[in-house]
Symmetry: C2
DNA sequence: GTCTATACGCCGATAGAC
DNA sequence: GTCTATCGGCGTATAGAC
């Protein structure tokens, strides 16, 4: 029945960082939820920052898998649609959705985190794969907005009116339609 | 030449909160940039939270102006386009753009701030004005996405490639096209 | 209006026993 | 692997002189 402690720390930290923000979450809170003292955390992670690193690595790996796939493809309309679908599909794995949300909500707090730079770089390269080199600004921007639409759930203050599933489904539809503009 | 000190505190706090995040910005930093001690700040604002309140008030007032206008209009396609245009136009006033960005980037850190609840409520009502009552989920979501396309600058990791103006112009174009989907 | 001085607590992190 | 104890530092905030 005993779960790996390291994994439980990640799980609790991920939830609290997302709900309250990275800076607002102390190691004491994480330890308390886990039922240990904060000193115990230091056996599993060198620093608070290290917990973040372990989480971001998950997301970077996912983005790089996507990037690798994109590069192996011809850049046509069907490839772009499939890329958006695959990007959206990553969010159907709960842990990946949680990590993505954590990163969404802590961009500013983590702005100096080296792994975040890696992630942004991957996003830039991914959105570049959406267009032929030298594509006009509006095309680049519209295609990038397709990715953005999939993150918009955070901003859509419609909770209570529609389920998460409805919002996600409609977001994907909008993202795909954006590719056709 | 002497500017009002209260206004200068707001200006510096707004910039630092946006760049570094609310939690990561201390009153000491603000005071240092202003060239006074942090104790001096307490003459102008009761608490750190009070500085935020004074900033959020600006945004809430803008949203409510927009909401009032929306309510006085018939809900047709041209009204929706005009509403999006007016929403976008608010961001052309530098101070309002700065405040909006500050709020975008500190949603999580300020999640318990009472003024933030007011702002979210105003956004919900504003996006409700975009549709007839009882409109289907996809319509509501797509029209709401139109607003949020205008916030996409944060996510578009295209800085350096395109100017802020290009991104804003294209975002508005996409927002307007979303209304027609 | 701004200062110095200070209260008081929580933070991340470490040392060393068990 | 987890504990107790503790460190140094910085956080917000206040008191009271000027």
């Amino acid at each position: 029945m005993r779960e790996d402690t390291r994994a439980r720390i990640q799980e609790i930290a991920l939830r609290l960082f997302t709900e309250q923000g990275y800076e607002a979450t102390s190691l004491r809170e994480i330890a308390e939820e886990l039922g240990v003292t904060k000193a115990a955390l230091y056996y599993h992670f060198k620093t608070k920052d290290d917990i973040v690193t372990s989480l971001v690595d998950l997301r970077v790996a996912e983005l790089e898998k996507l990037l690798e796939w994109a590069r192996s493809q011809e850049k046509n309309a069907e490839m772009r649609r499939e890329l958006v679908r695959r990007y959206a599909e990553q969010f159907t794995t709960p842990r990946y959705l949680q990590v993505a949300r954590f990163l969404e909500r802590n961009q500013t707090a983590l702005r100096n985190h080296p792994k975040l730079a890696k992630m942004r770089e991957a996003m830039i390269r991914l959105s570049a794969e959406m267009c032929a080199p030298g594509a006009p600004a509006t095309e680049r921007i519209i295609h990038s907005l397709a990715f953005f639409a999939l993150h918009a759930g955070k901003w859509l203050t419609l909770e209570g009116e529609f389920s998460d599933e409805e919002i996600e489904k409609a977001s994907l539809e909008v993202a795909l339609r954006l590719l056709e503009l």
